[in-house]
């Protein structure tokens, strides 16, 4: 039972811990280099909008239903709320898009009519219609995880693109491009 009679160990196996550590290190470096992205993107892009028919959220605009998106013309679907600060920040950009002839439809999340009216009075009202989604039924059904989010919907009612967060000034041409793309796709399908 002497210690010295031991077979020489498998040298290759000895490198295993170091190799595993090397792998971990590479993973950690990769994790650090990659900018933290806490957004959860919708995986529903490419699918037709689910069926919904939301009541009106504001006195001077109609409610919103799926049928509004099947007119052959691409539209923006903006998920927002009066209590959300970035939503106020993106208002000028939405106004610019509406000015450029884009139809912007709104879904107001957990909003009271009087708060929404005040929000629209302060920030402008670019919406053609605003649906009232008090239970986030539509928001969840299209895979949206927060406000504001903006979806490009083609003329057949199919979701073509999701923009997470507020629309910045330089996002406006990008969204116009996406709408144009959706127009050709929507016509083609």
């Amino acid at each position: 039972m002497s210690d010295n009679t031991e077979k020489p160990r498998n040298r290759l196996a000895l490198w295993l811990p170091l190799a595993i550590f090397g792998g971990l290190f590479a993973l950690f470096v990769h994790g650090l280099m990659r900018p933290a992205d806490n957004n959860v993107p919708s995986t529903f892009v490419g699918n037709p909008l689910p069926q919904f028919d939301l009541p009106a959220a504001a006195a001077d605009r109609p409610g919103l239903a799926t049928s509004a998106f099947r007119t052959g013309k691409p539209r923006l679907l903006n998920v927002f709320a009066s209590w959300c600060v970035p939503c106020a920040a993106e208002a000028p950009q939405l106004a610019a898009l509406a000015q450029a002839g884009v139809d912007v439809e709104g879904v107001a999340i957990h909003d009271r009519p009087e708060d929404l009216a005040r929000f629209l009075a302060n920030n402008g009202n670019p919406y053609a219609a605003i649906g009232r989604d008090d239970k986030r039924v539509v928001q969840i059904a299209i895979g949206s995880s927060g406000v504001p989010e903006t979806y490009v919907i083609d003329g057949q009612g199919v979701i073509r693109y999701q923009h997470i967060g507020d629309i910045r000034a330089d996002d406006v041409p990008m969204l116009l491009g996406k709408l144009k793309e959706a127009a050709s796709k929507g016509a083609g399908s």
Binding site: M1, N38, W83, H110, I140
Partner: protein, 143 residues
């Protein structure tokens, strides 16, 4: 090192409370289903669904408003007789695999399920090597 719930948690807890308290949550966010069997089913599903706003909590134990609305959605569907796994797949279609704490068996998660098997195999190899040598020495001693 569970040192602190810091900023992330504070945002989740504090902001919605301040901003939204006047708007009632969805009906089944903080209400259980009357049928205990259905409620148990809904609860079992909810603890395995991840809240999409609050990073690392299930919708069953989060105060975030969207978690409450997702609870309501799940309970409503369960009450309507929908199968829990069907609800899970419905959510995965919208939020991706991120939304489920139960990893789905797909090519990208195969290594995750292979891990216990590989570790067991490694363990068996390690243990066998030791004990076989050990036994040989023992019998040698006895002979």
């Amino acid at each position: 090192m569970r040192v602190a719930f810091l900023a992330a948690m504070m945002l989740v807890v504090a902001v919605p409370v301040a901003a939204q308290q006047e708007v009632p949550p969805a009906p089944f966010a903080y209400r259980q289903l009357p049928d205990p069997d259905q409620e148990a089913k809904a609860k079992a599903l909810m603890v395995t669904l991840r809240c999409v706003m609050c990073q690392s909590q299930s919708i069953a134990d989060s105060d975030a408003p969207i978690a409450g609305d997702m609870r309501s959605e799940v309970r409503t569907r369960i009450a309507a007789g929908e199968d829990p796994e069907h609800i899970r797949q419905w959510l995965i279609a919208r939020y991706g695999d991120y939304v489920t704490y139960t990893p789905q068996i797909k090519p990208i998660t195969w290594p995750l399920f292979a891990a216990p098997v590989i570790i067991l195999a490694l363990a068996a190899l390690l243990l066998r090597g030791r004990f076989k040598r050990g036994e040989r020495i023992d019998t040698g001693e006895q002979a």
